[in-house]
Symmetry: C2
Subunit: 266 residues, 2 copies
């Protein structure tokens, strides 16, 4: 099943996507819901991010070759993690499918995509084993962990390199049934394939992260865990369209726009 | 004015605290509210954290002497920041005034308090100057940035050292009118004064943080910025009561309990 969140008649609702049709829900997939009789063409609804996370987790370095690439890009030694120490991203940066990634005027050219699988938590979860962990997941969506590499090098934290407004596209919906073994993540810029990797090639998988995290913290419905990226990253520029696809989920597409520099005061 | 959030008759409400009395509000100080005629004794309501932040920001290293202390505690060189690069904490870890800080059974003895001023954002804010920045703030509350130092040293991120469930007491309420120049932050363990510092001795103040952050990101009502701590930190142990006070705001008090180790499987 594919759960989406959308705006219609100025109200936010959840829906069930079936091909070109969205059936509206009463309630939410994170609590309790019923199907309604309202059906809308998918291409006529304004999709929102499929949830607004309470806490926005990100695995960070979770594929071996991405660690080598990042080390080269930021000019620092980066070690492969020996345990799943999770990181964070910020709510302000989230945008939905088809919304625009806006590059600030003072960013360098090095604003790059990172295509990621996203696990969406469906139930309150504390101290689960790896065997139980996937039961905490409502489903999976797609994230693009847009990053400004010069700020990633220069700043003490990743606040603006990773969390500038619009730098966290997420969507288009949550797919509840996936097959990790067949999953491929691919990124296209203007329809040209620029990165492709087996999604499950992670150092620590979804179950390992959830089990380790839940030893110390409670996960809540709507929390998301971005699982990291692999492969080469490239610069995004004004006018580009960037698309992250994950087999069995769908495609998250966002146009890119660079902000005009402000006119200096005379 | 002091805004609190509390639970009464299983509903969450906001209130205005005046001495020993809470007057219930209809609505919220983050949107629009009216006073109601319902008044309750403060000592009979269950206070909640005064808001649930959309994004939970933390200044981190923001007092010179704390940087020296931390460097000694974690055994690494730590430089004073040259600009306000903000960090993050997590929602799962928040607890209210009088709720219990629970130390996991596998934590070391080095679980320490950090008393902090917290700025609570009151309006949607983007690209404000330092002069305008304090207009974004609804008011101020108090935070205790409880930290497990061995995990701070060993982990790739601060996820469990700082964000284990119950490690982020915040409250008791939001005070809208403060005087930075007279503000002193003090920490007491079991009524003994263990730390005291002028709150305004920050490397970068609230206005500097908000202005710098808002260049790249939008702040939303209910977002919080924890402003960092100064002075010595000490271990918290089972049975302690830890209290962080800030002049003009009030006192945030939390009991401390250490979890019993699990009985191993036979």
């Amino acid at each position: 099943m594919k759960f989406c969140r959308f705006k219609a008649l100025d109200r936010v609702r959840y829906g069930l996507v079936d091909g070109p049709i969205v059936t509206e829900l009463r309630g939410s997939p994170f609590e309790r819901y019923e199907l309604t009789s309202v059906r809308r063409p998918l291409d006529r609804v304004k999709l929102l991010t499929p949830c607004i996370p309470g806490t926005f987790y990100a695995a960070g370095m979770n594929y071996l070759s991405h660690i080598t690439e990042t080390a080269a890009a930021i000019g620092e030694e980066v070690k492969a993690p020996d345990k799943p120490d999770v990181g964070y991203r910020a709510i302000n940066a989230l945008i939905a499918h088809e919304e625009t990634i806006v590059i600030p005027s003072d960013a360098t050219e090095e604003v790059q995509y990172e295509g990621e699988l996203v696990a969406v938590i469906g139930r309150k979860t504390h101290r689960v084993s790896e065997d139980e962990a996937l039961g905490a997941v409502l489903g999976y969506t797609i994230g693009n962990d847009v990053s400004e590499r010069s700020w990633q090098r220069s700043d003490r934290t990743m606040w603006r390199s990773k969390n500038t407004d619009t730098f966290k596209p997420m969507g288009p919906w949550i797919e509840t049934k996936v097959n990790f073994n067949r999953m491929v993540t691919s990124v296209r810029i203007n329809d040209e394939l620029v990165s492709e990797f087996p999604t499950a090639n992670m150092i620590f998988g979804v179950a390992a992260y959830i089990s380790a995290m839940s030893r110390y913290l409670t996960l809540y419905p709507g929390d998301v865990i971005w699982m990291g990226t692999d492969g080469p990253t490239q610069n995004l520029k004004d006018g580009d369209s960037v698309q992250v696809s994950v087999t069995g989920i769908g495609a998250l597409r966002n146009p890119v726009s660079r902000e005009e520099p402000a006119i200096p005061n005379q």
